[in-house]
């Protein structure tokens, strides 16, 4: 199966979510190949899951003070702090038929590419259902998936370095969620690549590309002009609007 791979670039939170939707449309219409893209966030941002309550999850005043954008994703799952310098986000998009039909199976298959990438850096991570990757029981990657009109989108983040002080100053983390995992401090729940590997971030990018290239015919390419144009429209008219961000 041929996949287009688009190398790491940074966009705003609104454009990142809009690009995913624009690519879903172009795959649906048959104008683009299944796609794997790597991207960062500039400025840093919080993304919240489709079903999350904005005010429940995000300290909006702290975000505003820190210049951190807030966006709602097309996918479910939890709130994520996307540090502009501390993580890589990927999206994999394609017709649903090319992925396992069962949702949990497709998480496992796609996340195995990330496990492979981390292994290249000497990091032994584990897939922890439903949608997390952990190292020594600490979360290093969160992933989320949606399937809309025949196209699957899974995106996820892999932490390269983590600024827990900033992360938890911006998020409202519920005590219910913490107590379930029997961990006294939320700071003990997350880790990052730089805690286990001295690899420079460029090596991390390359490992991610290798991980997602396994068993796939990769064609390196860019976003099409039509995708970027559509994404700008979606960013302006949907993802940056209060109607969308504050939907729940």
């Amino acid at each position: 199966m041929k996949f287009r791979m688009i190398r790491f670039q940074k966009f705003s939170a609104f454009m990142n979510m809009a690009i995913d939707e624009a690519i879903m449309e172009s795959i649906r219409s048959g104008t683009s190949l299944p796609t794997i893209r790597f991207y960062g966030w500039s400025p840093s941002a919080i993304s919240i899951g489709f079903f999350q309550g904005l005010l429940n999850e995000v300290n909006l005043d702290a975000c505003q003070q820190a210049g951190v954008d807030v966006v709602r994703r097309l996918t479910g799952g939890g709130a994520v702090y996307h540090d502009s310098d501390g993580e890589v986000t990927y999206s994999i998009l394609g017709p649903v038929e090319i992925f396992p039909q069962k949702i949990l199976d497709s998480y496992r298959v796609i996340c195995s590419d990330i496990l492979f990438a981390l292994q290249l850096l000497g990091i032994q991570a584990n897939f922890e259902p439903i949608n997390d990757l952990t190292v020594d029981g600490k979360k290093i990657s969160g992933n989320a998936q949606t399937r809309r009109s025949g196209v699957l989108l899974q995106h996820g983040t892999i932490l390269y370095k983590v600024d827990v002080e900033t992360m938890f100053s911006l998020l409202n983390v519920s005590k219910e969620k913490i107590s379930d995992k029997l961990i006294s401090s939320v700071k003990k729940r997350v880790t990052s690549v730089d805690s286990y590997s001295s690899a420079p971030i460029q090596d991390f990018f390359e490992a991610m590309e290798k991980g997602f290239s396994r068993d796939r015919e990769i064609i390196y390419a860019e976003y099409t002009a039509e995708e970027l144009s559509r994404a700008r429209q979606l960013a302006e008219q949907k993802y940056s609007t209060n109607n969308w961000i504050g939907m729940r």
């Binding site: 079903f51 097309l74 949702i103 439903i130 949606t146 219910e176 107590s179 379930d180």
Partner: protein, 98 residues
């Protein structure tokens, strides 16, 4: 009458699953429900159908009836919830109206 309208909220992290929060407005029967959390529902837009299926339910709530209502919405729409079950959801709702 307005002083008799009640609001409630309950939140639960489902063991092995996800966080579910239910906010409810009720008086003698459920007026409206909002379900939020870090769960997954495919297709996503079905969440409003589930919320609407719970509106109108009389207090005290029938757990069995409400689970059936949610099950029916899921089955009719070939939907999948990941992170909680219909019974989990109704349990959180019932806590919210206590």
């Amino acid at each position: 009458m307005s002083e008799q309208i009640k609001t409630g909220s309950s939140i639960k992290k489902i063991a092995g699953g996800k966080l579910v929060r239910v906010d409810v407005v009720y008086y003698q029967k459920i007026d409206c429900v909002k379900i939020t959390g870090d769960f997954f529902l495919h297709p996503e837009e079905l969440i409003t159908f589930i919320e609407e299926s719970l509106a109108g339910a009389e207090i005290p709530l029938s757990e069995e009836l409400l689970v059936k209502r949610v099950d029916a919405v899921l089955q009719d729409n070939h939907a999948t919830i990941i992170g909680f079950s219909p019974a989990d959801l109704i349990s959180v709702l019932m806590d919210a109206v206590k």
